[in-house]
Symmetry: C2
Subunit: 149 residues, 2 copies
């Protein structure tokens, strides 16, 4: 599942600016890793990104992919998604959004909803801490999995 080209380019420009701003070097590896993730709506893991990037940079190492993804996460350019048992998955969509997760095959898809994103839950959490963000995870069975069973 691909992201539209102009959105990818917007993300890449943001990435380049952030790399400059942070005083980091703009390497082929960083550019290709980020572009690969920014082009995908699939929330891939490090190994999936590695496989794709290797088509364009055949000598790239898996370690560099991991290191780059961590760097990008530290810069706030991408997010890391927790999964129970599976490998970490990454997300270059930095807009406020939510996730549909297929409990059968692990597919993850974004959705946006103003009403949900506007939810206020602060009052319920007095005693735990300060709220930074609220995200909704919808679990279900994706259409592909449903058709197969």
């Amino acid at each position: 599942m691909k992201i539209e080209a102009h959105e990818v380019e917007r993300r890449v420009e943001t990435f380049k600016a952030a790399v400059q701003e942070a005083g980091l070097k703009l390497t082929h590896q960083r550019l290709e890793v980020f572009r690969e993730l920014a082009s995908s709506a699939d929330h891939p893991d490090a190994h999936g990104i590695y496989d794709s990037v290797k088509h364009r940079l055949p000598t790239v190492s898996l370690d560099t992919v991991y290191r780059t993804l961590r760097t990008l996460s530290d810069l706030g350019l991408i997010n890391m998604l927790g999964t129970a048992g599976e490998s970490i998955r990454f997300d270059a969509n930095t807009r406020k959004h939510h996730h549909f997760v297929c409990v059968n095959c692990g597919l993850v898809r974004d959705f946006e909803n103003e009403e949900l994103s506007a939810l206020q839950v602060q009052e319920d959490l007095v005693g735990f801490g300060r709220v930074l963000e609220t995200q909704i995870e919808v679990r279900g069975i994706c259409n592909d999995c449903r058709n197969k069973s």
Copy 2:
């Protein structure tokens, strides 16, 4: 953070019934692993449970803890929580509830809210699949972490 004794015993009774029902053996190991998790509000990982259970069953193996937790999850008696990069965490609270997660130290706490639990998101997800459940994750900074910084 402990769960009240009568709630723990209620959970243990449910566990015993489910183990019988499934035709599984009620071993010391299974009982102690379940009781340890059912007594905690901390959403511990397998190693944390192992360390605690070892006080009462000094010869228990880490493998048995992992195997037991997977069995309990298959029975629907506990849930596994995805975390980005850290080890899997477990939850014996099977009521519909949501989570506050400290982005600094990883603390996870339950909260319930009827309004949030009643959320209907189906209409937004036409095209992805069939919705089974909706859970909210609130990220923030817990009070302990806030006081330290």
